[in-house]
Amino acid sequence: MPGYNFNNEEELIGRAKNNPRIFGELYDAYYPRIFGYVFRITGDHDLASDITAETFLKAWLKIGSFKWRGISISSWFFKIATNELNQYFRKKKYSPEVLRDLSGLDGEDPRGASSYGNEDNTAAWKMDEAVEFMQLRQKLNTLPPKYRQVLALRYFEELSIAQICQILGKKENTVKSLLSRGLDKLRNLFP
């Protein structure tokens, strides 16, 4: 975000605790990243809007208790968003999509991917790429949450192992192990 000084984040967070307008600067800086993260997992623009909104609302309510530990507040936002996603998948009575539904996607009408193409999206997202990503996302979402989370954070959001550890509250070896097992499980879903 233009004008946002990531080096000054500690001071900004301190001021944001007492000033909602200052919190707005954090919000503007990180909303696109969190929205993109949620959208890439859910594939639903409206749902992503709601979950992202819930994420920032909870952050706004709890900013007073946030303690600066030399880690960007983005990890905290990702953590809240991840918890919201888990809640969403649980409330949906989350159950993995059966493989026969996934195998039918090879000939699927790509119009289902149109939510990835927005008239304002200057990234010029191509329809065939949207279909491929959607198929990958659906396979990823059949995995248990612990694998889905680490894979999405590592490969969709391109976060480091250290950042993932902060977000999920897990040790480095645990995250590496989850990534390795997650890749195995995901690989097995491909023909």
Binding site: D28, G36, T52, N121, W125, L183
Partner: protein, 164 residues
């Protein structure tokens, strides 16, 4: 360059490379970002605010019904009547309009907005309006509309029949 997963036998390393290189969507979120910044509510929050906005008028009408139909004397209603009559007519009218019609209508609008989404799909040249089914929001919106309608009809009846 990214791998076509159908053409390449995946080992774990290639799976990782595939995930790293597959093009990922970068959705446009500007509209949602601004809306949230203005309202800072989600659909669930708007339903809670809506509940408050219709709860108070609904409570008032319930108390009036108890007093009028069941002849149960309620001190709060008597107090309200005594204090309201001491206000200037215009002030009383504005208060009644805001509290008994404005609040329920705001509740109805907030919840209807939270349920609806408007989107133009340029690729398919379609304008889509979608409504999410969230029963709690729908209930609040209907209750707000019903309350506002009730009071508007009540005011019309009073006016036409020359009531107080």
């Amino acid at each position: 360059m990214h791998y076509n997963y159908k053409a390449v036998t995946m080992d774990k390393k290639k799976m990782a490379e595939y995930l790293e290189t597959i093009p990922k969507p970068a959705p446009d979120e500007a509209g949602g970002q601004e809306r949230l910044k203005i309202f800072l509510v989600t659909a669930r929050r708007s339903s809670r605010i809506g509940l408050l906005l219709i709860g108070l008028p609904a409570l008032l009408i319930s108390l009036f019904i108890l007093q009028t139909l069941l002849h149960i004397k309620i001190g709060f209603i008597r107090w309200l009547g005594e204090n309201a009559s001491s206000l200037p007519t215009l002030a009383r009218a504005v208060l009644i309009f805001v509290f008994l019609i404005g609040f329920p209508m705001i509740a109805m609008i907030l919840n209807l907005l939270s349920l609806s989404h408007f989107q133009y799909d340029r690729l398919r040249r379609e304008f889509r309006i979608t409504f999410r089914i969230r029963w709690w929001n729908i209930a609040i919106a209907l209750a707000g509309g019903a309350l506002a309608t009730f009071y508007i009809l009540h005011l019309l009846a009073d006016t036409l029949l020359g009531g107080e």
